[in-house]
């Protein structure tokens, strides 16, 4: 080997290229989500989406949202603290294009703290099950927006079921594409 340095350099470059090619296929987007129940609270928080070649060849994206009224309608006021932990499965149509219609299925948990034992008999948590449809937009290589409207299948009236989950909601997400996830 005349020049082992070149060999190492060549190996390193080709590894990096392979890594980059593989890494391109793993997408991690994270950012903020603003969610408004029609006629009721605004719950805001963080959202993340992940897709990989191993998940139906990137046709399925997994998502997670952590939302709280403390970051929305109950921010620094006397509103009722209410939180949602959601995991989601979503599909973007036309994923190679800039405008991507989307469908999404969320499930998770919603819960509140009422701050007094007087209210111990009122339901304070619920399972979440909702469907969304809307549109995603690749603003550039790093930034993705999505707008959608959803329907909560599980709602309550405060007597039978948790009253903080309302049927119709709309949301806006702004996600930053981190792109590279190790583990290639």
């Amino acid at each position: 080997m005349k020049n082992p340095l070149l060999l190492i350099l060549g190996f390193a470059l080709s590894s990096a290229q392979i890594h980059a090619q593989m890494a391109k296929n793993y997408n991690l987007n994270a950012g903020i989500r603003v969610q408004k129940s029609i006629g009721f609270y605004c719950n805001n928080g963080v959202a993340a989406e992940f897709s990989s070649p191993h998940l139906f060849n990137q046709k399925l994206t997994l998502g997670m949202n952590l939302l709280s009224s403390r970051l929305g309608s109950a921010f620094l006021n006397h509103g009722i603290a209410y939180h949602e932990i959601q995991i989601s499965a979503l599909h973007y149509f036309r994923s190679a294009k800039r405008i991507q219609p989307l469908v999404r299925l969320n499930t998770g948990l919603a819960f509140s703290r009422y701050g007094s034992s007087v209210f111990r008999d009122i339901p304070a948590s619920s399972l979440l099950l909702s469907a969304e449809t809307g549109v995603g937009m690749d603003m550039n290589k790093q930034l993705k927006f999505s707008f959608s409207a959803g329907y909560n299948a599980i709602t309550g009236n405060g007597t039978r079921g948790f009253g903080m989950v309302w049927p119709i909601f709309v949301q806006f997400s702004a996600l930053y594409r981190f792109g590279i996830v190790t583990g290639v």
Binding site: S37, I38, N77, G79, I80, S116, F119, D121, N157, G163
Partner: protein
């Protein structure tokens, strides 16, 4: 896409839009099947307080109060959405036996008349008779208390918060099943559904015929949603009542009309003048406005006991 295809698509869109618009307009004007002989919604049956205000309103019953009259406390009783003065008749009759408290049963604007009146009234119209009676009693110099149920509660809270009356003479404010957050979350969709759903029908219990509106126009439901949302937002911001006003909230735990979260929001957002928390009691009951049993198909002995206990507590507070 050729020009012809574009024209066809445009025509289809316009036709669809017109069909939807015309269909919606037709439905919005649709009248419910009112039975004039027994439904309050009809032209024949009205709340009796319209014909005989002196039997209901203290200001009409005692137009020139004596010093003895003024020495007794005056309790303004305010009913809820689609109801009438009937809702507080039992309390009036109960407290009459004590002989030392005046009651004044206010009929909300747009209520107790007919469907058309209910449909066109705004929540401000509903509120006006409470303001009028309060001001009359205040001018006479009565020591005033207010007991309100359901929709009557946000109407009274709004009246106090927005200084529509002088609260200086108000002492006790007692709220029964106040609506701040409705149990039926579909109420939030009324603005969107109003055209397609011109009214909803209430399942009346036998003794309620003629005392409650059976049909609730989308416009009235929209007003209710507007009022509840407005007062909820005010409570989220938080506000303090004037000096001298003491609040007690009774909230039925299993209430199909008003979400018990209403009591949570009231306790969080409403404060007495010196910053103390208002008193809230969650009542073990399945009834909405558990203080009214007359006209119901059935109720338990526990319901009767709760009613009398709360009547006594109200009396103790105002006396």
């Amino acid at each position: 896409m050729c020009q012809r295809q574009k024209r066809v698509i445009q025509s289809l869109c316009v036709t669809l839009f017109l069909c939807l618009s015309l269909g919606s307009c037709g439905k919005a004007d649709k009248m419910p099947p009112i039975d004039n002989n027994k439904d309050l919604d009809g032209k024949l049956v009205n709340d009796s307080s319209l014909s005989f205000p002196q039997n209901y309103l203290l200001s009409a019953a005692v137009p020139v109060p004596s010093a003895g009259d003024l020495a007794k406390p005056a309790v303004i009783l305010v009913h809820g959405f689609s109801a009438t003065t009937f809702e507080w008749l039992e309390f009036r009759d109960w407290v009459k036996t004590k002989g030392d408290v005046h009651t004044s049963l206010v009929l909300l604007g747009g209520h107790g008349r007919d469907y058309a009146d209910f449909k066109k009234a705004t929540w401000q119209d509903w509120q006006q008779p409470i303001i009028d009676e309060y001001q009359k009693l205040q001018n006479f110099g009565y020591k005033i208390h207010i007991v309100a149920s359901s929709t009557g509660c946000p109407l009274v809270l709004n009246m106090l918060r927005e200084n529509k009356v002088n609260p200086a003479l108000l002492n006790q404010l007692i709220l029964i099943d106040p609506i701040i957050i409705p149990a039926n979350k579909q109420l939030s969709l009324i603005p969107a559904l109003g055209a397609a759903l011109p009214y909803t029908e209430t399942e009346m219990e036998k003794g309620e015929d003629g005392f409650w509106y059976k049909y609730r126009p989308a416009e009235a439901l929209q007003q209710l949603e507007k009022l509840a949302r407005r007062e909820r937002k005010a409570l989220e911001t938080g506000y303090t009542l004037n000096e001298g006003i003491s609040v007690k909230v009774y909230k039925s735990i299993k209430d199909a009309a008003v979400d018990p979260l209403s009591a949570v929001q009231l306790r969080k957002g409403l404060r007495h003048a010196k910053g103390s928390e208002i008193e809230v009691e969650m009542v073990e009951s399945n009834l909405h406005v558990f203080t009214r049993l007359r006209g119901r198909n059935s109720f338990t002995s526990e319901d009767s006991a709760t009613q009398v206990r709360v009547f006594q507590e109200i009396y103790n507070r105002v006396k």
